[in-house]
Amino acid sequence: MASYIAKRIGFLLLTFLIIISMCFVFIRLLPDDPPEQFGKDMQLVLQSRYRQGLADINGNPIPLLTQYGNFLKNTLLGFNWGISEKLYLGQDCLKIFLEKLPNTVLINVYASLLAIPLGLALGIYAALKKNRWQDHTISTGVMVLVSVPSYVYAFLIQYFLCFRLKLFPVVMEAGRDYFSPQMLRSMIPPVLSLSLSSIAGYARFTRGELTEVLTGEFLLLARAKGLSRGQTTLRHALRNAMVPIVPSIISEVIAVLSGSLIIESIFVVPGVGSLYVSAITALDYNFFLLLSAFYTVIGLTAGIVVDLSYGFIDPRIRIGAKNA
């Protein structure tokens, strides 16, 4: 088990290194012309290149390989992602990033907290009522929610619920008081917009897995033993269906972190998603690298967690048991 995890983490680090190196090289291959500073001395421009680690103090360019070495040293060993040259002039990228992270995390955690129980419940209900009108209604709703882009219902939620009906604030509340009632209320529209498609996704998956399990022969046996339909479903079917469902939930929860770019900009959530978009528009490369690393880490972690979770949920799967 331990050696398997170590192996996986080793591979994760390797993958991360490869991806982030690719990003770095691609970014640094872009023309690194310093922005023209109208009416300013050349010295200023050189300073900007120097601060970005592109040139030494005298303005001589540093070779790409040395830049890469410095980058690895600073980021991986020193956890120093450099300073922003465009968006937040002269400020530490990591500090700004960490300042914004809680918003994104909270929105997504709330969205998952809302989506998982609702999605599972709907899925189970639909599976139990398979091919009856309840099932058809849920399936149709699910199909619509999965297919309509989430920002389209974000528009509708903002316009109708927030502006017309005034149920919630039009944009998210400011401040860092994340658990005040006003803040929570103002988070409802983005959370709702984010979770609608997740709810549909969970419902669809749960229904699918459960219907498949429900046709299993062991259930017939359970029924033959004299268990009621409810008992068989809850004790036997659901447990088996959970084997694929739980990992999918974990990966969804983690993956959703990277999916809220548009929602963040619509409801003015000062999170990392909108930061990524502005970093691209402003061509702020240090931010771009940091955020790329962030999204990569999320993806990689999700993969590992899912793999490991199989072993905990399903006793039939033994991780790394080959040598034992």
Binding site: D33, P35, E36, Q37, F38, G39, K40, D41, Q43, L44, Q47, Y50, R51, I57, I83, K86, L87, Y88, L89, G90, Q91, I96, E99, K100, Q158, Y159, C162, F163, K166, P169, V170, V171, E173, A174, G175, R176, S265, I266, V268, P270, S274, L275, S278, T281, A282, L283
Partner: protein, 686 residues
């Protein structure tokens, strides 16, 4: 009040938006001014801030030696002492022999007596020494601050400031501050400064930099890491200290900041600064801002292209002409165009841009009023370098465009000089100037034909070649640049119909340039830019002229104005000199000029009339080059919410409608919330 020339993009105009109305914590009445920005300040360190957004905070937390206020009748402005007590005192005579002042010099050394009640937000008094220490940090050679040129660029050039900043660089020996740099304290409340070039009167007070940082905070924020100097002053509440009317009390990046009234400020009175707090939100989408405005959560809202239908005639709508002129500019550098066209492939031509007739055709072929309608309807077509709100004579508040010289320039540039007089097309100059629409398709088509013939004749272009002009824009999300680009493509495709260039004039676009896109022309990345211009010196067009003529500022530096001879009639004589020399003369220096009979002499502008004459001549020279072609003068419109009232209904530059200083409130915050709730939570402003 240093007004440095700032590059302006038509990216995002100032936008008004929202904020929440906090219920009053105590029983005191609160008046909150809420608005929203579409781009947010990130760095308001007075030494290194970059953009107009950053000065959004700086304006509230800092102050100037001389400030604008209403005249007694409330119909215009006066420039009166702010942090200073009284006018600057000329001490040039006393200082002779020091700081490079020679006996007989005038208007070079001044003393400013500071108010004795100046205090930081925490109550610490401010003395002359603080200004000196702040200047030292601004000009710190190891910091290389972005705003260091406030002390040596433009018309106010502090003696030795540049040498101090650049010490250690090639050709600049080490230099001590004391005794060398012309910025020092004579006593606790007397600040003395020495200028390199003589300056006096309005322009001295207007352009004088009031530069102040809170020294302990600033020094604590400084960091030297790996030889890289950074300073985090002015990036958060803790690193910000105010000496202006408001102080920063909350800041959340890309979300919201709050400024509250600085009770230590010297100028608080019963009838000013009624606003107790200013809450500024970040809301990118105009439609969201409008929703918030209509819910009463903001007090002003900047009108966009799409609101004019619904709110154009509203009682709450305010319009005014801005002080910048936007234009298009080309790359006339033959070598760069040639290599670009080779890169672009066979059969592509770009060098036709070097032919003046082609640029003239581009100028006459653009339907400016339609362009404004399509890209930015609040703007108005522009025909000169300076819009109507640029003031040539600040003491009498005379707009530059209304001077005869400026009108003659326009008539001459647009080819109307011969059409004026009895029995001709226009009976007088005024009629001719007001008839200009900048659009003359017949003329443009002629010019396109001539340009094409010339290009073929000079071997620049083969008959089968296609002209391809690459236009640079900052991004692909700004409506102005998207609509403007589409319009330009369509407009010229139509304009060349029936000429020899029909079907041969095409455009491509590079929209990945980011905010630094205006530098792309200099770097030969693109062939053309549009929607570029300058702002910042509406009361000093003489300094603003530098933006068009000095290679430091020009969009395209291959256009060498030191080789463009300009003839000006000053004080009854006619002299010729390069444009760059005239620029220096206009800004108080002396240069050699050639008289009509060939004799040369050293000349310095004598007075306002001379400067004005030079300014008009230079404007004519820039426009006659057809490399910076004006398209439109900017205009702004916004809605005012019912909670606030302005001091004036008319826009008076530079006071606007009175600003936060003169806001009066129709409702306290509590009453306002009640009023909004009573109106069903949704207010009508149509």
């Amino acid at each position: 009040m240093k007004r440095s020339i700032a590059l302006i993009l038509v990216l995002a105009a100032l936008c008004a938006g929202c904020g929440k109305k906090e219920p009053a914590a105590n029983q005191q009445e609160t008046y909150t001014y809420n608005y929203a920005l579409s781009t947010f300040p990130t760095n308001w360190n007075p030494n290194s801030y970059r953009t107009a957004n950053d000065s959004e905070i700086l304006d509230y937390i800092s102050d100037s030696f001389y400030v604008f206020d209403y005249n007694e009748a409330g119909t215009g402005y006066v420039l009166q002492p702010g942090m200073a007590q009284g006018e600057p005192i000329d001490v040039t005579a006393e200082m002779a022999g020091q700081y490079g002042i020679k006996a007989g010099d005038t208007n070079r050394a001044y003393v400013i007596e500071l108010r004795e009640d100046l205090r930081w937000e925490d109550g610490t008094p401010i003395t002359a020494d603080d200004f000196v220490e702040s200047a030292k940090r601004l000009l710190d050679p190891k910091a290389q601050n972005y705003r260091a040129d406030n002390f040596y660029g433009g018309s106010v050039v502090i003696h030795n400031a540049e040498n101090y900043l650049k010490q250690g660089q090639e050709g600049y020996p080490a230099l001590a501050w004391e005794g060398n740099v012309g910025w020092f304290a004579r006593s606790k409340y007397e600040l003395c400064f020495v200028l390199e070039h003589p300056l006096s009167g309005f322009y001295l007070k207007y352009n004088l930099p009031a530069h102040l940082v809170h020294i302990p905070t600033y020094d604590a924020c400084a960091k030297m890491d790996n030889g890289i100097y950074t300073n985090s002053y002015g990036t958060s509440v803790a690193t910000t200290k105010s000496f202006g009317p408001y102080k920063l009390t909350a800041f959340q990046a890309d979300k919201q900041y709050t400024l509250t009234r600085n009770e230590e400020y010297y100028d608080l009175a019963d009838n000013t600064y009624q606003t107790t707090a200013i809450v500024v939100d970040f809301v990118k989408e105009a439609s969201t801002r409008l929703q918030l405005f209509r819910q009463g959560k903001l007090d002003t809202y900047a009108l966009t292209v799409d609101d004019t239908d619904a709110y154009g005639l509203s009682d709450f709508a305010y319009y005014h002409t801005g002080d910048s002129t936007f234009g298009m500019t080309f790359n006339p550098n033959f070598e760069a165009l040639k290599s670009a066209q080779e890169r672009a492939g066979n059969g592509i031509n770009k060098t036709i841009l070097t032919i003046p007739e082609f640029r003239i055709a581009m100028c006459y072929g653009l339907d400016r009023s339609a362009f404004c309608l399509a890209a930015s309807p609040l703007n108005t077509p522009g025909f000169g370098l300076f819009s109507e709100s640029i003031i040539a004579d600040p003491d009498n508040r005379t707009p530059y465009r209304e001077t005869p010289g400026a009108k003659q320039v326009l008539a001459a540039v647009w080819g109307l000089t011969d059409q004026i007089g009895e029995g001709k097309l226009y009976k007088d100059l005024d009629q001719a100037v007001s008839s200009i629409s900048g659009y003359d398709l017949t003329r443009a088509k002629e010019m396109f034909d001539i340009a094409y013939d010339k290009a073929v004749e000079q071997g620049l272009m083969r008959e089968t070649d296609r002209v391809e002009i690459k236009i640079g824009t900052p991004n692909s999300t700004s409506a102005f640049y998207n609509n403007g680009y589409e319009f330009i493509v369509n407009n010229y495709t139509r304009a060349v119909q029936g000429t020899k260039l029909e079907g041969k004039l095409t455009f491509t676009r590079d929209d990945t340039l980011g905010n630094a896109y205006s530098g792309a022309l200099k770097k030969n990345q693109v062939d053309m830019l549009f929607g570029v211009g300058w702002t910042g010196s509406a009361l000093d067009p003489y300094e603003l002229m530098e933006a068009y003529i000095s290679p430091n500022y020009q969009y395209d530096s291959s256009n060498d104005y030191s080789k463009v001879a300009v003839t000006v009639s000053v004080s009854g004589e006619t002299y010729t000199a390069p444009a760059t020399d005239w620029l220096a003369i206009m800004n108080g220096q002396s240069r050699k000029v050639t008289a009509a009979d060939g004799s040369t002499k050293s000349y310095a502008a004598a007075g306002q009339a001379d400067r004005l004459a030079i300014l008009s001549a230079l404007e004519g020279a820039v426009l006659g080059n057809y490399n910076f072609i004006p398209i439109m003068d900017d205009g702004e419109g916004h809605l005012r919410g019912r909670q606030i009232k302005y001091r004036t209904e008319d826009y008076i530059y530079p006071l606007g409608y009175g600003g936060v200083k003169y806001f009066r409130y129709a409702y306290t915050d509590a009453q306002w919330n009640e009023f909004v709730a009573k109106s069903g939570g949704m207010l009508d402003y149509t």
